[in-house]
């Protein structure tokens, strides 16, 4: 029978009340019953924690400081901390030695909306002796308040380090919390460091996909064996709750564990790069870093990184670095250095950037050096570049040519 007909057969099951009575006063929070599979899950290695709101399953693993995860030991994180303390510039990813840090990752039953549950809260924290992984597993949807309460996120203050947590995990957590706002203390707002964001800045134009797994393989020297793909996690949890069998769920826990370990080493690796410690990265990555400092108004740092790119890589690879370097020089009013860098970039950047370079050169020659001959030369070059390009739309080209020709006429008069 088709789905449609099946549903229509159910018409008889639909009861209807003539009037809607107001519902009786909601009783205070009632603790839900424990799921029938509680023992089964305990046998699989999970611990039951009970609080005022129900139960939550917990798993804890300690890692020694010297634990090796891919290229890095976990304690590389301490090196990173030291670097930030010694740094003479500011950066949004810098950590203060005193702030407590919480690496955080969740697993959910869907991608968005109120019907998506968080079924696993994974934390990695640092104690005096070890890195401690704590995972809280939703016993069943009725025990959600117990899970949230046990996370202590209403109580503690910590900087939350995630991979895409800023737009996914944390808002999702806020959603779950809102549903229990009548019973739970308020979720605390915390400082967020999202390593997806930094990965984008570091590896733009360098890596095609920025899935954590890809970053692990290409940059962190870690490859997963026997991992379950993340998109299966929802089905596995649903199945575990329905069947009571936790075997596959334990693999999701492992998946989450690896995510968290990689967050530590990714933070270390990123910090190394920001301090130019790792020489194996490409010109693109270092150019990205230089540009990032530039955007953060850390000009000295930006110039330092970009200049190194121009000395260590060939002209072609350093084209973009020259361009960003030139912009920094211009900003610092070092016009002749700016011109040199713009000229050096000219033949090694993409057409769109090249057009900007020509414009900048024309401006600098006209307004700073008052060399109208040169300014006119670059203006003509610009017009030619526009006219010869076949990728840009006619409409766009016309608009540009008009503004360029204005400059050309003006310069013609000045000459």
């Amino acid at each position: 029978m088709s789905y449609e007909n099946k549903i229509l057969q159910m018409k008889k099951m639909l009861g209807k009340k003539s009037t809607t009575q107001p519902k009786a006063e909601q009783p205070a929070y009632q603790k839900p019953a424990n799921p029938s599979y509680t023992e089964q899950w305990e046998k699989a290695g999970l611990t039951v924690v009970e609080n005022d709101f129900g139960i939550v399953f917990k798993r804890q693993v300690n890692y020694s400081f010297s634990y090796q995860h891919g290229h890095y030991q976990l304690q590389s994180f301490f090196d990173a901390l030291r670097k930030w303390q010694d740094a003479d510039f500011n950066h949004p990813y810098a950590l203060d030695g005193n702030e407590s840090v919480l690496f955080f990752d969740t697993e959910t039953t869907g991608l968005k909306g109120v019907g998506t549950h968080i079924f696993l809260l994974g934390f990695l924290e640092i104690t005096k002796e070890a890195f401690v992984l704590t995972q809280y597993i939703l016993a069943d949807p009725a025990h959600e308040a117990a899970l949230l309460f046990e996370s202590k996120l209403w109580q503690k203050t910590a900087t939350i380090i995630t991979y895409n947590g800023k737009s996914f995990d944390w808002p999702q957590l806020e959603t779950r919390w809102t549903l229990h706002k009548k019973t739970l203390p308020k979720l605390r707002a915390q400082r967020q460091i999202d390593l997806l964001h930094s990965s984008k800045r570091l590896w733009k134009n360098d890596m095609e996909r920025l899935k954590l797994k890809a970053v692990e393989e290409e940059k962190l020297g870690f490859s997963r064996v026997g991992d379950i793909p993340g998109y299966l996690a929802p089905i596995i949890y649903l199945d575990a709750v329905k069947s009571g069998i936790p075997d596959a769920l334990m693999k999701v826990l492992l998946h989450n564990e690896w995510d968290l370990l990689s967050l530590i080493t990714l933070y270390s690796h990123s910090t190394h790069l920001l301090f130019e410690e790792n020489k194996e990265e490409s010109a693109k990555t270092f150019t990205n870093i230089g540009k990032w400092y530039g955007d953060l108004k850390e000009s000295t740092q930006s110039v330092k990184v970009l200049e190194r790119v121009t000395t260590q890589f060939d002209e072609l690879a350093a084209g973009d670095a020259q361009y960003y370097l030139a912009l920094q020089h211009k900003k610092n009013k070092r016009y002749s250095e700016a011109i040199d860098a713009f000229v050096a970039s000219l033949h090694f950047v993409k057409p769109r950037t090249k057009l900007h370079v020509l414009e900048q050169l024309a401006i600098l020659y006209e307004h700073q050096l008052k060399d109208y001959q040169q300014a006119l030369y670059y203006t003509q070059e610009g017009i030619q570049l526009i006219q010869n390009n076949e990728q840009w739309s006619m409409e766009q080209k016309q608009k540009w040519v008009i503004s360029w020709e204005k400059r050309w006429h003006r310069l013609g008069n000045k000459k």
Partner: protein, 764 residues
């Protein structure tokens, strides 16, 4: 023709003595004007609001606006019946703004059937707020809202203006991001209530039940304010849509000018086939007369093509004037800036005639016009009145000309002026109990908040249905609640505009590099309208179906320009599954219940436009039979004695055609929303039977209404068929007959036979 400015009464005086017009204008009806009825501003009206109104030159309210204010203040949900140009938006703006001025935390949702209407109203509201000098934030929230300001709308918007589709998939499933709205929601405004009918209305009824459920969770109890055009059952509709008792405001205090209605029938040019001169040409001639008399008018036509035809014709008048913009076309899909230009032109008089599709019907402010011409009956009385309301705003005298096309309904209307002018508009029906629609929204509701094991959903007891959803694996039962437990996002799988989610998608191949989806159609209709070689009309443009991929549910179409349309035959087998209600009369039974039907498209004909409706080709349709479970009302009767099977068959086919055309007179729907199927020997009782069924899986409440209407329906149909001037059947009555046979006579006999039997029932 003299090009001299005249007033409407001068013009009408001339027309009274015009021989040609005298013959074609079947009825003149004048409705006298009525002065405004005012009420003072409420005493507690916030001074800033009073100031804003005064800036607009308003010193007192119309009585209905005051009544609305008082009801809202008293915490009553209500529905106001508001004719065009009666200042209906004050019915909700005033109480809503008053509340926000009293309590800055208060919030309101405005619901408009379309995005464009919300945009229009936003401008108006913002102007009013500006005039009040207060800081009240109102935003539209729809697919076009920039991501940058969404956050702000959610957190700080006092008034959120949106549409049901956005509420359904963009707001409710994310309600935790809207806490301040739902915690403080005081008013829900539903504008254009009458548009919430049929499948769409039934879906929206559930969206509102979901909304109320969420409000309850956050502890708010909003009051509903609805405004509606005139329909027969506004209160019933509002109460069913919102599941909330409503007060009704029926009397408008707005002034009405004197209105003259002319009922105009194009002359017959081919008597045997009952063919009349094209209504478009007649309308163009009439519009020309109005134009030369200097009367500002609006012409309504049903399709874009017709609008273009009339505009082209009228532009002849201005051919010799350079840069003359006095005649303008207007259709849906214009950008707001283009619309503003037209609105301005109408106000300052540079535009004299505007030709529009029905797009103008809804809420566009074009100021006052003197005359309105309707090309054909717009399908329901409320729309007709909205179109007529475009002429003669305020106290001015107005002229409304209704020009009939040749369809049955049009011809009926032109011959029965009281139908339009009388006070019995159609009912708007919704049917939230349609199981397919209900289950869809039950899923969404479960997604949004878990159900307790003793919960109801709206007025429905749904525990058993939840158990079914648990079996299906989308919800999970814990000790006391049902929780959504699936990675799906159910609102994305559900479109509010169709009952069955298995629709055929229509893809336009006209421009090879830019193939695009131009529409969707339910499976059942697609069999006869989207088969290969069918001519499919989309917003007045002709497309030919090149390929119908039934497996993938995709129809590939290409724009064409042809002089024929296609008409497909659908063979339908009816099986009565369950008889819910029935009543007997002499020699027959009327019933209502569930039916299973198996429909198979068989052949199609290509029929030339106009003239004799020549059949210029045909073909076979190769599609598998389609099953549908829906609701139906059926009339079974004993065959009249001494009729041959062929005579009865012919009469039933003709009668079914005529009955189908008349259902929209009683119920606000399109004649394509229901179907009438004659069966000379029904499978369940072996009697001749007419079935009227809803053409949507699960039913949409139309045939249920027909159950009560059979008597009147047959009466009206009989009246019309007998008074139709054609000799042996035409598109206006029983449909074109293949040959000149006696069918028409038999149809009349059959209808009066059935009518007398039903009357017997009444007497007993």
């Amino acid at each position: 023709m003299l090009s001299k400015k005249r007033t409407i009464s001068e013009l009408l005086n001339e027309w009274r003595y015009d021989e040609e017009l005298k013959e074609r204008i079947l009825h003149w009806q004048t409705l006298e004007g009525r002065p405004a009825k005012y009420a003072p501003f409420p005493e507690n009206l916030h001074p800033s609001l009073g100031k804003a109104l005064q800036k607009r030159g308003i010193e007192q309210l119309y009585t209905h606006q005051r009544e609305a204010f008082d009801l809202a203040q008293g915490g009553f949900s209500f529905t106001a019946i508001t004719p065009t140009a009666s200042g209906k938006s004050y019915c909700y703006h005033l109480p809503v703004l008053q509340k926000i001025l009293e309590d800055k935390n208060a919030r309101a949702i405005y619901l408009f059937p379309t995005k464009a209407l919300a945009q229009d109203q936003k401008n108006d509201l913002n102007e009013l707020i500006e005039q009040s000098g207060e800081e009240i934030l109102s935003y539209t929230y729809d697919g076009d809202t920039a991501p940058g300001i969404r956050q702000k709308v959610r957190k700080a918007g006092h008034i959120v203006m949106t549409n049901p589709d956005m509420l359904h998939s963009g707001i409710l499933p994310h309600h935790t991001k809207w806490v301040s709205l739902f915690e403080n929601l005081q008013y829900i405004v539903i504008d254009e209530l009458h548009t919430y009918k049929g499948v769409f209305g039934s879906h929206v009824a559930h969206v509102i039940r979901r909304l109320k459920r969420i409000c309850e969770f956050y502890g708010s109890q909003p009051v509903f304010i609805c405004t509606s055009a005139t329909i027969k059952n506004p209160q019933e509709l509002a109460e069913l849509l919102t599941n909330e008792p409503h007060q009704l405001i029926t009397e408008s205090g707005a002034p009405v000018g004197k209105k003259t209605f002319l009922f105009y029938n194009p002359p017959v040019i081919h008597k045997t086939f009952g063919v009349r001169r094209s209504a478009v040409l007649e309308v163009s001639d009439l519009a020309k007369r109005l134009y030369t008399a200097g009367i500002q008018s609006i012409i309504f036509a049903k399709s874009r093509v017709r609008v273009e035809m009339i505009v082209t014709y009228l532009k002849e008048l201005t051919r010799n004037k350079l840069l003359d913009e006095s005649v303008r076309g207007y259709r849906g899909g214009y950008l707001p800036s283009e619309r503003r230009v037209i609105e301005k032109g109408l106000r300052d008089g540079t535009i004299q005639t505007v030709v529009s599709t029905n797009a103008l019907e809804l809420g566009v402010d074009i100021g006052q016009l003197q005359a309105c011409i309707m090309t054909g009956y717009p399908g329901n009385i409320a729309s007709a009145w909205q179109q007529a309301g475009r002429a003669g705003r305020r106290q001015d005298e107005a002229l409304i000309i209704y020009v009939a096309q040749s369809s049955a309904l049009d011809q009926y209307v032109v011959n029965h002026p009281l139908f339009l002018l009388g006070s019995t508009p159609e009912e708007a029906r919704i049917y939230p109990e349609n199981m397919l629609i209900l289950m869809d929204h039950l899923k969404c509701a479960a997604f949004e908040l878990p159900f307790s094991v003793d919960d109801t959903y709206g007025e429905y007891a749904i525990q058993e249905l939840l158990a079914y959803l648990a079996e299906e694996g989308v919800v999970f039962k814990t000790s006391d609640k049902w929780h959504w437990m699936s990675e799906r996002f159910p609102a994305h799988d559900i479109s509010l505009r169709s009952a069955s989610q298995e629709n055929v998608v229509i893809i336009d191949l006209s421009i090879p590099a830019q193939t695009k989806v131009i529409g969707e159609m339910d499976r059942h209709s697609a069999m006869t309208l989207l088969h290969e070689e069918a001519i499919y009309l989309h917003q007045g443009i002709q497309f030919q179906v090149e390929k119908l991929d039934w497996e993938e549910k995709k129809a590939y179409v290409r724009e064409v320009d042809v002089d024929y349309y296609t008409d497909a035959n659908l063979a339908v087998e009816m099986k009565v599954l369950e008889e819910d209600r029935s009543r007997h009369h002499t020699g027959g039974t009327i019933s209502f219940g569930d039916v299973g039907l198996v429909a198979q498209a068989t052949i199609f004909k290509k029929i030339k436009f106009g003239g004799k409706q020549d059949n210029i080709g045909s073909g076979t349709i190769h599609l598998p039979p389609d099953e549908m479970h829906t609701s139906a009302s059926w009339l079974s009767f004993d065959a009249p004695t001494k009729w041959s099977e062929a005579e009865l068959d012919g009469a039933m086919v003709g009668a079914a055609y005529a009955i189908n055309a008349f259902i929209p007179i009683f119920i606000r729907c399109d004649s394509s929303d229901v179907a009438v199927v004659p069966q000379i020997k029904a499978t369940h009782n072996e009697l001749p039977t007419f079935f009227v069924y809803d053409k949507y899986p699960g039913g949409i409440g139309l045939s249920e209404k027909v159950y009560d209407l059979w008597g009147e329906l047959l009466d009206k149909t009989l009246q019309h068929v007998s008074s139709c001037p054609c000799e042996a059947g035409c598109p206006s009555c029983i449909g074109v007959q293949d040959s000149l046979n006696e069918s028409k006579g038999y149809v009349i006999k059959l209808l009066s036979y059935l009518g007398s039997q039903l009357n017997n029932e009444k007497e007993r």
